[in-house]
């Protein structure tokens, strides 16, 4: 702790004369406010073990504002105490932890290794906080500061104030609203922190949270133990109302400070292709066994996450396809959401990731137009949803040879309405309903050398079960390919050839 003779950076020595001579307007204002405080109350609080800033904050009428951040605690103390007080008490009390704020406003804390860390000035404190922030590795140009203090701090404050009320109940300064410990800390530390981090402060997407927690269970400070509360209640019933000063316990250990930083999720958009019939869209595990070789989600997300140095990712797609269905054509729109990213990859890096996925040896999945996207991401997703049309190519087998008339009987069906009962393969987890869907158009493509197979191109309403439309799902989808052609039909394989979005 600096001693009174040495001036702290940016402020003036404790002697009033030099202050009058070299006065900085803000510091002078603080000095004058300090001298105008009710000296009896100030003496009481200081002797109880309340720190200088808390004493000021609880007794002053005006708001506790940023002018204070440049004034060192020891300087403040000397202004609060009048000349003829016993200065003997000041030295030991400087090293005691405040019974109200538990060290928060004294710029004292215990770190992760249980070492007590002290700072003389708010800029030094800001520097220490900056070190803790830098450990997390976030890249940011603006931040929001959040502070969390233990609940006992509020209780301590209430106890001390009620003690003051007993003695000074009629005083005007007691009635004004007091700045809380949280707000006072923010006021003291925000400007130096801004300078030290080199960032603006606003309600941004990046939050720095200072969490103060009690060092140990016994260091409660001013608030009562249960035993004392009972004793006080019985005392009040018996008519005696005064809380003895000895009931305020001393605090030896300051709060433990931990700093957590969190970035709001960032989004990347693009379109994906699925070339494999053994890759699911999202990670699929049953009974600890993975279904399929890999998943689109893991291939794409697993490459983006390390580039962002994020904690985790979520995959969102505009619709989905079965594991054994390929996604070709113009690709399906998707979003990758990354939680708590430390840095945002450049477009160049994203292009490299895209190329890496597209040139991979196995060629399971492809990506196009991978880019960073802002708040319009959800609107983009919704474009690919329910109202849109989807196009497919299905390899179909029928139980009789394809005839010339079949081409027309199929392609002449435009806007064909079909009724689909919930397919048996999903009936266990979906409602049993009958859904009406539209097949907008169909085209038959013959396969040379085999008249029992053909390629069926079709464009349908979103939400149509194609496989069930072909094989009929035991007659539960009607009409079906089989019923139209008057024979049995089976679907051998299916590909998605287009997912139409609003603008394409």
């Amino acid at each position: 702790m600096s001693d009174e003779a040495k001036p702290a950076s940016g402020d003036l020595a404790g002697l009033p004369n030099s202050l009058v001579a070299h006065g900085d307007i803000r510091t002078r204002r603080v000095y004058e406010a300090a001298r105008s405080l009710h000296s009896g109350a100030v003496k009481d609080l200081l002797s109880l073990g309340v720190c200088e800033r808390c004493t000021f904050r609880l007794v002053v009428v005006e708001a506790f504002d940023s002018d204070f951040s440049s004034v060192a605690a020891s300087t403040l103390r000397s202004w609060l105490e009048t000349g003829d007080d016993e200065t003997g008490s000041s030295e030991p009390s400087c090293s005691r932890v405040c019974i109200v704020c538990l060290g928060v406003l004294q710029f004292v804390f215990s770190d992760a290794k249980e070492t007590v860390v002290k700072s003389d000035s708010s800029s030094d404190y800001a520097a220490r906080i900056t070190d803790l922030v830098k450990q997390d590795g976030h890249v940011f140009d603006s931040f929001a500061l959040e502070v969390s203090v233990p609940s006992t701090v509020t209780e301590n404050e209430r106890a001390v104030l009620s003690h003051l009320k007993v003695k000074y109940s009629t005083e005007a300064w007691l009635q004004s609203e007091k700045t809380s410990v949280k707000d006072a800390l923010k006021v003291l530390v925000l400007d130096p922190l801004r300078a030290s981090l080199g960032a603006k402060s606003d309600s941004s997407s990046f939050a720095i949270r200072l969490t103060y927690s009690k060092a140990s269970d016994e260091a409660q400070g001013a608030s009562e133990t249960t035993h004392e509360r009972k004793k006080r209640k019985t005392d009040e019933e018996n008519g005696s109302n005064c809380r003895s000063e000895n009931s305020f316990e001393k605090v030896y250990e300051p709060c433990v400070l931990s700093v957590h930083c969190n970035m709001m999720p960032i989004f990347f958009s693009g379109r994906y292709f699925k070339y494999s019939r053994n890759v699911s869209q999202s990670r699929w595990i049953i009974d600890d066994e993975r279904m399929g070789e890999s998943s689109v989600e893991e291939i794409i997300g697993g490459n983006i996450l390390p580039a962002c140095l994020g904690d985790s990712y979520k995959f969102h797609a505009a619709g989905r396809e079965d594991i054994d269905v390929r996604m070709l054509g113009s690709g399906r729109p998707f979003l990758i959401e990354v939680q708590n990213s430390r840095q945002c990859p450049s477009q160049q890096l994203l292009t490299e990731i895209e190329e890496k996925i597209n040139n991979s040896e196995k060629k399971l999945v492809g990506v196009k137009d991978l880019r960073f996207i802002g708040s319009q991401c959800w609107a983009m997703m919704r474009e690919g949803e329910a109202e849109k049309q989807k196009q497919y190519a299905a390899l179909v087998w029928i139980s009789r040879p394809l005839e010339d008339t079949d081409f027309n009987s199929i392609s002449s069906l435009k806007e064909l309405k079909i009724l689909q009962k919930t397919p048996i393969r999903v009936l266990h987890r979906r409602s049993p309903l009958e859904r009406e869907r539209t097949i907008h158009w169909m085209k038959v493509e013959k396969i040379k050398g085999n008249s029992n197979y053909f390629l069926l191109h079709l464009c349908t309403q979103a939400g149509t079960y194609i496989k069930e439309f072909v094989h009929g799902d035991l007659g539960r989808t009607s009409p079906s390919m089989g019923s139209i052609l008057g024979c049995r039909a089976e679907i051998i394989q299916l590909d998605v050839t287009d997912v139409k979005m609003g603008d394409s």
Partner: protein, 226 residues
């Protein structure tokens, strides 16, 4: 030779085998009646479509003459013979998701009658099974049935036979199309002629399974080739 899109629409009777202007790399497919694009400025689109075509076709391997049916691929077949009465043979097709499709096996005694099955009635036991209203993901209001609960009664010219659930579980659906088209039972009892869909609890199924036989065992017992 290119044919414009509008022409195709106006002449639906005209189906012709149309050659593409660009020859496709794969020799296996003839392109008929295909979607044509306008000429100007769409060359890149043509290339994209060709690339797509190649992808679509390259995946077609050897095509078997008669591929397995959707039922064979997606379900595991079980059979039960002489259930409560001689000749009452039924199938249970079980999907990996737990649902069971119940129907008449080919050796069911009803098929031996002259003229086959002429009528089906779901109003057996205490209620008409065809008026069930099961709703929601949790399958509310589904009738809980035991394996010997009656599903329906099928009638032929000579006689009528009771068809039972064979599986303990919730009755999700009966095939009400059979009411108007009982002949489906004669023509395709293993597909469109299915009788009902039941959802057993996993524990009930494990117990039930022991009294059922596989397709191989069924074929052996009945001496049929399917």
């Amino acid at each position: 030779m290119e044919i414009q899109k509008t022409e195709v629409l106006e002449n639906p009777e005209v189906e012709a085998i149309i050659e593409l202007t660009k020859q496709n790399q794969s020799e296996e497919v003839e392109h008929c009646d295909e979607l044509q694009v306008a000429e100007e400025g769409e060359k890149p689109r043509d290339e994209d479509e060709d690339e797509l075509r190649n992808l679509l076709l390259s995946d077609i391997g050897d095509l078997p003459i008669s591929p397995p049916s959707a039922t064979q691929v997606n379900f595991v077949s079980y059979f039960i013979t002489d259930f409560t009465k001689s000749g009452h043979d039924q199938y249970i097709y079980r999907h990996p998701n737990g649902l069971c499709v119940i129907g008449l096996a080919p050796t069911h005694i009803a098929f031996k009658d002259e003229g086959g099955i002429t009528n089906i009635d779901f109003n057996v036991g205490k209620s008409d099974r065809s008026v069930l209203k099961v709703s929601g993901k949790r399958k509310k209001n589904a009738m809980r049935s035991e394996s010997n609960t009656a599903l329906c009664k099928v009638s032929t010219a000579n006689d009528s036979y009771i068809v039972r659930c064979c599986v303990k579980g919730s009755l999700l659906e009966v095939n009400e199309r059979l009411i108007k088209q009982p002949h489906l039972l004669n023509s395709s009892a293993d597909r469109e002629g299915y009788i009902a869909i039941i959802m057993p609890r996993p524990a009930d199924w494990t117990k039930n399974k022991e009294s059922l036989m596989t397709l191989e065992e069924y074929k052996e017992k009945k001496g049929v080739s399917l």
